[in-house]
Subunit: 422 residues, 2 copies
């Protein structure tokens, strides 16, 4: 009897009705002949409410205590879910991250999973019970203190448990039918992607697709654990995230999808002297402020002045910190001025097929040109092309790219992974 | 450096203001040169709110899952309290019952403490930190599942931890100044009792004084751990609950206090045949329904009929169950009828001094007679006399007894235990 791990997010268990609906779906999976292990997030807005409580008490709460506080959220949802399953006549046992053997490092608020030792989970499912596990949390290997994995951590819990239990699949339930070729709010004709490789999904996640957390996809790729992203409100097949070799190559689209991201800002350092090490000093200062930068462009040095401009993008939330860190450098580096622009957006084309289809960049750029979208910066990976455009042109850019690569015409049923219709 | 264990109830930490106030008191104790271990209950109505959530999901939730759910309450309050202490510049570390080494049996919802192994608490206070421990909860020795001790269990957690840590004192903070000679809402001249023996406090608790849980006092007596019951809203000395030999015998009042209880009902089995074993069958039926009875009176058999009446008191909450259990016996026992009366109250006089002062009962009964209070049933222990009266005469009975034994005239300052004024 195979093991299915299912993860339900906070919106799926926001109230008693949602908890009961999820319980019914879990019981149906059990009755279909699977061992079922469920990972659940805190109900609805519980985590935000607990954060508000903490802020009422202390402006800078200790990470250890904040984790102790926030983990109360999943404790509530998992116990209620176990009760709801019990009410349907099936035995369910809930387990904290610690009880489930989710061992992490000691980085409170952003802990990494080091190991998973799910002995109690295995015992529960061997007893015929459904195991409910608190997402988002674990226990520090060294201090034995309770830790949290950071936002989106429940997906990672689910994949890590699925890998440790050698589950058949990790089902991630959400409020949409899967991963789409573009955000349907921008492109109404966007199609569900039936199957996508880990690599493409990583690029999609890094490019702003919020449906799966980057860490969770990385974990799944490392352990080759199939993820099935699907809706908790329907029984439709969703999107399978699997090893690239399993995505049917005959049906492999050149482009899997168009992602966009409005959360970045651009900083331009104007008039940087063209000396060895100046760029390094700039980026060392930003890195020292614990800021992750995304794209970098350096203009060609103007021969007459010997000066160049360096632009880079970063999370808007870090904009103020970065500007302050760079302002300190003004005299040392000798640049002219700093420009800050948060009116930008990033549009990315992701697809493993572009490895073997050279004309993709050209097609993307010409589609943007025809739509009147000006490209500010460009960066590429083997399976992704990203451009920075004006924020108010993001929708036009996404729509133009989606149309150019015929994404609305995908025959979604032809490429369902495995064909089981699960 | 001695250890002080402090317990704060849910009303003391009902909101951010309360949490901060309690944190200041804890820090003051630490600054006065003590190691401080704090036991805290769930904030305000949190436990009731969680119970409501459970009832929305399932009419009969599993005990294991209910305990998992309810323990989220202390998790929230203890983390917030630790943050508030951190905000005052002191290190605090919160611990669940399980982390604090509170080992229990597996009786979910009413677990008993088997052992306390407070290694992590000792390590925390040796590091100079204040340890915050979740009250009311523990971990089952056999199943490793989370358990709760039942209502009032936080007091027991505090005393058990204090005993295991060999603390100097266990301070139980509440919203009144200590244990009073009577309920001040009934007797405005009631006085705070400065010191009372474990035995008297047990009788007071069993007689309806709600300030300390019976189990907590029993635990303290068994381990000879002094309890100081005091208000979290003032710095006054409260009531010391200590070994009888330490209550100054020169100052020992004959009567410590008058307790009352309006939570009982009376059942009378009318016309029971005077045969060996009939009473046993009646009480076996009640015991089989898991009901604890309190007082029992059997009337003298009427010679002409050979029938007697048997009356007993029990918690009103169990009244319906008991009547149903007894109705089944009607034909077997052959009694005439069952009477149920919940318009009763119990008034108890408690005092170790009555051991050596024979006239107490007579004085109590004559005071009640002068106040026009009719006595329905009587039971006594070595240091307690209890009577059942009509519920609407409870206040008169308490007032009359209080006046008769001069309880309002106690010189409270003369008998402060230890005299330290703590």
């Amino acid at each position: 009897m195979g093991i299915v791990v299912q993860k339900y997010g906070g919106s799926s268990v926001a109230d008693a009705t949602g908890v009961t609906r999820v319980a019914q779906r879990i019981v149906a999976t059990k009755q279909a002949g699977h061992h079922v292990v469920v990972v659940v997030s805190a109900m609805g807005d519980t985590t935000d409410e607990l954060l508000d409580l903490a802020n009422d008490i202390s402006p800078l709460p200790s990470g250890r205590e904040l984790d102790m506080l926030l983990t109360a959220g999943e404790r509530i949802s998992m116990a209620l879910l176990a009760m709801a399953i019990g009410n349907l006549g099936h035995e369910a046992r809930s387990f904290t991250g610690s009880q489930a053997g989710v061992i992490t490092d000691s980085a409170h608020g952003k802990a990494k999973i080091i190991d998973v030792t799910p002995g109690r989970i295995q015992a529960a499912i061997q007893d015929g019970a459904i195991a409910i596990v608190a997402g988002f949390q674990g226990v520090s290997q060294s201090s034995k203190d309770i830790t949290t994995l950071g936002r989106g951590g429940s997906d990672t819990t689910a994949v890590a448990l699925a890998a440790a239990l050698q589950a058949e699949v990790c089902e991630i339930y959400t409020d949409v039918d899967g991963v789409f070729t573009a955000d349907p709010r921008i492109v109404p004709s966007a199609q569900r992607i039936p199957a996508i490789s880990y690599e493409e999904m990583l690029e999609m996640a890094a490019s702003g697709a919020k449906i799966l957390h980057l860490r969770c996809v990385e974990y799944a790729r490392r352990h080759n654990m199939p993820i099935h992203v699907r809706s908790s409100f329907s029984h439709k097949t969703g999107t399978w995230v699997v090893d690239g070799s399993k995505v049917d190559s005959m049906e492999q689209a050149i482009i899997s999808g168009v992602a966009h991201d409005r959360s970045e800002a651009k900083i331009t350092v104007v008039g940087v002297p063209d000396k060895v090490g100046e760029a390094a000093r700039i980026f060392e200062a930003v890195a020292a402020a614990q800021i992750n930068i995304d794209m970098i462009v350096q203009n060609a040095t103007v021969a007459s002045t010997g000066l160049a401009d360096i632009s880079f993008t970063l999370p808007r939330a870090d904009g103020q910190t970065a500007m302050a860190a760079l302002a300190v450098l003004k005299d040392q580096v000798g640049y002219d001025t700093l420009l800050y622009d948060d009116g930008i957006g990033k549009v990315s084309l992701v697809g493993a097929g572009m490895r073997s289809h050279p004309g993709v960049s050209a097609g993307f750029f010409s589609a943007l040109a025809q739509a009147g979208v000006n490209i500010d910066m460009i960066s590429t990976s083997e399976i992704r092309i990203s451009v920075i455009v004006a924020e108010d042109q993001v929708d036009d850019a996404v729509t133009a790219a989606h149309a150019r690569f015929d994404l609305e015409a995908r025959d979604v049923e032809a490429v369902v992974y495995g064909g089981s219709g699960r």
